[in-house]
């Protein structure tokens, strides 16, 4: 108890002696303020990046196994000669679906899609849209909102109806002043009736070459009837013919464990029928794990770099404390003569150093707490300040105070009282 209130008194003492040299104290603390602030910002930026990445991956679905058709490099690089009749056939096959979905345990849903770029007409102009031919359960893996009408139904698929659902951005371009429902959209000359409007498709599922978000979703069966398996694109005088049965198969699994097991089985099954390896299997769960590991390394690096500035601040503190010890040698001598033990002197100077870093740390936290908000205005930057990202730098500042105050404090305590009293 006696020691406790003595320490409280030494705190008052420390506050007092720091306030005597207020400018010097503030300048010294500035190093710590900057150090703590940068650690806070770094941690917040890391957390922001992690949450952003987690969000992106969650959109892919952590329980999903996504298999995409891949155009093989040798097919892709073979220059399409003029009027070439050569057909490049690749990708997932309709036969893969029962093969995969029937033999992997833990499958909840099996969603297929075929993506093709098709031309539509917009006030006499051609507009290229990405057509996603699929089935109703596509809605369960692609997280979108229905803004008007409805999504394609089982009946649409069974009856091979020429119905379609369009994204909001496409609806705005084509039918700006009227409801898109009931309108007709022609795709490569074939008419489709709009039965619904959705906000947007996640980029991972919308198909490539479609940054604008102009998507048309049609029943798989109807697309098959109207267009077949061939995708013929004209580019100037040349044309390319590709034969793709399916662009994507999404296997939705019951839990994370079956995701990892299922992905192994799926690879095995696909490799049997796809010797050319013209598919790409993505497991978001694995990506999450990889990303987490990469993130951890990057986090550590960035925090270490930020912490270096804290150490530099600590050197500043040590410097000023050493100057203070020299300057106050006489005072130390007097205190020792009046009964201060070495321990008392150590505690006094340590507390002064820690107070400097504590005040600096608090100021750094205050700035670091709000600086990310300001930074978000100017640069593309997501920062999430968590309690840990405030507490950790603060603790670091206190530790820096202890570490940098220790040597000056010991030096003060080990002064010979007689010499110290004689000091001018």
């Amino acid at each position: 108890m006696k020691a406790l209130h003595k320490v409280a008194d030494i705190f008052t003492l420390g506050l007092h002696s720091l306030s005597v040299h207020i400018v010097r104290s503030v300048l010294t603390a500035l190093g710590i303020i900057i150090g703590v602030c940068s650690v806070v910002i770094m941690l917040a930026a890391n957390e922001g990046a992690a949450q952003k990445a987690a969000l992106t991956l969650r959109a892919l679905g952590s329980n999903n196994i996504i298999i995409n058709s891949v155009k093989l490099p040798d097919l892709a690089s073979a220059a399409p000669s003029q009027n070439s009749r050569q057909v490049s056939a690749y990708g997932l096959l309709r036969d893969d679906v029962p093969n995969l979905c029937g033999s992997i345990p833990g499958i909840v849903r099996c969603v297929v899609a075929r993506v093709a770029l098709r031309d539509t007409h917009l006030r006499g102009e051609n507009l290229t849209v990405a057509t996603v031919a699929t089935e109703p359960n596509y809605a369960d893996v692609a997280h979108f909102n229905i803004l008007a009408g409805r999504f394609i139904s089982d009946l649409d698929v069974l009856a091979h109806r020429s119905h379609c659902v369009i994204t909001a951005s496409l609806a705005e371009r084509m039918f700006a002043y009227e409801s898109p429902l009931g309108q007709t959209v022609t795709l490569d000359g074939e008419p489709f009736t709009v039965i619904g409007m959705i906000d947007r498709l996640p980029p991972s599922l919308a198909g490539r070459g479609d940054e604008a978000g102009n998507n048309v979703i049609v029943p798989l069966t109807a697309e098959q009837d109207r267009f077949g398996d061939m995708i013929i694109r004209f580019a100037g005088a040349s044309r390319t013919i590709e034969k793709i049965e399916l662009s994507q198969i999404v296997l939705q699994m019951s839990d994370e464990k079956s995701v990892l097991e299922g992905s192994v089985i799926a690879r095995g099954l696909l490799d049997e029928s796809h010797e050319r390896h013209d598919y790409d299997l993505v497991v978001p769960l694995e990506l999450i794990a990889q990303q987490k590991q990469q993130m951890r390394l990057w986090n550590m690096m960035s925090v270490i770099i930020a912490a270096v500035s804290l150490v530099v601040g600590g050197i500043g503190i040590m410097n000023i404390m050493l100057a203070s010890v020299t300057e106050r040698t006489r005072e130390i001598g007097v205190r020792r003569a009046l009964g201060a033990k070495k321990r008392d002197v150590v505690v006094q100077f340590l507390i002064e150093a820690v107070m400097l870093t504590t005040v600096g740390g608090l100021a750094g936290i205050a700035i670091g707490r709000f600086a990310p908000m300001l930074m978000e205005r100017w640069i593309d930057f997501t920062a999430v300040v968590t309690p840990a990202s405030l507490v950790i730098p603060f603790m670091m500042a206190v530790l820096v105070g202890l570490a940098s105050g220790l040597y000056p404090a010991l030096r003060a305590a080990n002064l010979d009282p007689i010499e110290a009293l004689r000091h001018e």
């Binding site: 007097v334 205190r335 003569a337 009964g339 201060a340 033990k341």
Partner: protein
């Protein structure tokens, strides 16, 4: 504890064969050379001697700021000559009151805060320290200066604060090192009469001085030469 040889009840300070030697470079310097001395409770002693006579060294040892290389120092019956730094600090804190030539007040502390420093290291609570420092400030006639800083005070006033501080722990001995060395004759008189006042009230005062006029105010004058007692005169 066995009563050390030659120590009587009222003998507050007993020095027996005190030796202090230093090594300066390659040379061995003997500052105290088997000094033996007894000071009784309530005595007012002046220590004199030319520079190099060992009076500073003696004062440092008496004040427990330094340890003798040989011999014994009993303070209030307790042998302090073999104590470690921690215990010596404790002895200084509780049994010794220091008064310095240059006052040695802490610049940025108020008069009362300066007086409270020894109590602070004793761990006396703030609310208990305060009445004590007020009483002491009053006793040395500075009740109207209690919240001033040292630089706002005259030399004589500063020395009175230092005396109040030296009395804060109710010490066994008051050690004064040239207490009037920085003061004019008027304030010297002021301080010396304060000492006499304290002496009358039973304080044991040991004062180092080189001024005869100051030394003659004390009841006993000890002259040192070459680390030994040359003369020891009690009036």
């Amino acid at each position: 504890m066995t009563e050390p040889d030659g120590q009587h009840g009222e003998d507050l300070v007993v020095l027996k064969g005190l030796v202090k030697s230093y090594t300066v470079g390659l040379q061995q310097v003997t500052a105290l050379d088997g000094l033996t001395l007894t000071i009784a409770q309530g005595q007012y002693v002046a220590i004199m001697g030319p520079s190099g006579s060992g009076k500073s060294t003696l004062l440092n040892i008496l004040g427990c700021l330094d340890r003798p290389s040989g011999g014994h120092y009993f303070l209030g019956g307790q042998d302090v000559s073999g104590m470690d730094d921690n215990d010596l600090s404790e002895v200084r804190n509780t049994r010794i009151g220091f008064i310095f030539q240059s006052f040695n007040l802490i610049r940025w502390l108020t008069v009362t805060a300066n007086i409270e420093v020894p109590l602070f290291y004793q761990g006396v609570k703030r609310r208990d320290r305060h009445p004590r420092s007020r009483d002491l400030a009053k006793m040395v006639g500075l009740e109207h200066r209690m919240n001033h800083r040292p630089w706002e005070l005259s030399g004589g006033q500063q020395q009175r604060v230092a005396i109040a501080r030296a009395l804060a722990n109710d010490p066994l001995i008051l050690l004064a090192d040239e207490p009037t060395g920085n003061l004019d004759s008027h304030t010297t008189e002021e301080i010396l009469s304060l000492f006499e006042d304290l002496h009358r009230r039973g304080r044991t005062i040991i004062m180092v001085t080189h001024e005869d006029s100051v030394a003659h105010r004390a009841g006993r004058i000890i002259r040192l030469r070459d680390g030994r007692v040359e003369t020891d005169v009690t009036r």
